[in-house]
């Protein structure tokens, strides 16, 4: 069964450093998403991406964040200068279509720890 994969599973970084979180969406999917989950809290939407551009972003997704699809398979989230409060699980998701009724498939997540 096709699945979304993410690397690394755990990333530890120093405050102020740049990190890149990587995702490989399901191969025939066209819509990609990043969510984050701070420990013990709910999953929060960050950004959606389609046709090589951002479709929608939340208030959390400020200028420190960027997304890219550098090739035909990877989808990345970059945090330019990490802060302590960026520590969270980051989930990538993909869907075949957009619109209200399209299921999003989630990856296993990357745990980001900022020291």
């Amino acid at each position: 069964e096709p699945e979304v994969t993410q690397t690394p599973s755990h990333q530890v970084t120093q405050m102020g450093q740049e990190v890149i979180l990587r995702c490989v969406p399901i191969s025939n999917h066209l819509y990609f998403y990043w969510y984050r989950q701070i420990l013990g809290q709910k999953v929060e939407f960050l950004v959606s991406f389609y046709n090589n551009e951002i479709s929608e972003k939340s208030e959390i997704f400020d200028d420190q964040f960027s997304v890219e699809r550098p090739d035909g398979s990877n989808f990345t989230l970059k945090i330019r200068s990490t802060k302590l409060e960026d520590s969270a699980m980051y989930f990538c998701a993909s869907s075949a279509g957009t619109g209200v009724y399209n299921e999003q498939f989630f990856g296993p997540g990357t745990r980001l720890t900022v020291l």
């Binding site: 709910k42 999953v43 939407f45 959606s48 209200v100 299921e103 989630f106 296993p108």
Partner: protein
Amino acid sequence: GESVGLHLPTLSVQEGDNSIINCAYSNSASDYFIWYKQESGKGPQFIIDIRSNMDKRQGQRVTVLLNKTVKHLSLQIAATQPGDSAVYFCAEKVGYGGSQGNLIFGKGTKLSVKP
């Protein structure tokens, strides 16, 4: 602001019993509701969904009920098994404007199944 929330943070049931997990939502414009299961160290996994023009939908051992009058959503798990132990999230999508892709998650209920 409008949000999706859960009544009970934890639920403990005996193996074989039925489980009911509840969720309240406040956005009357929401068109689509999804229940996700999240096991430890994994991403959210789709369980079942329901559209706003329905009030009940059944899957394998799971049933989702939607009461739009009181803005309440529930997930019923029949004959709960130890493998059902996880955190369960409700999520909503709003089918208007540009917000057709991102999910709004509730905080989660932890289900523990005692053998």
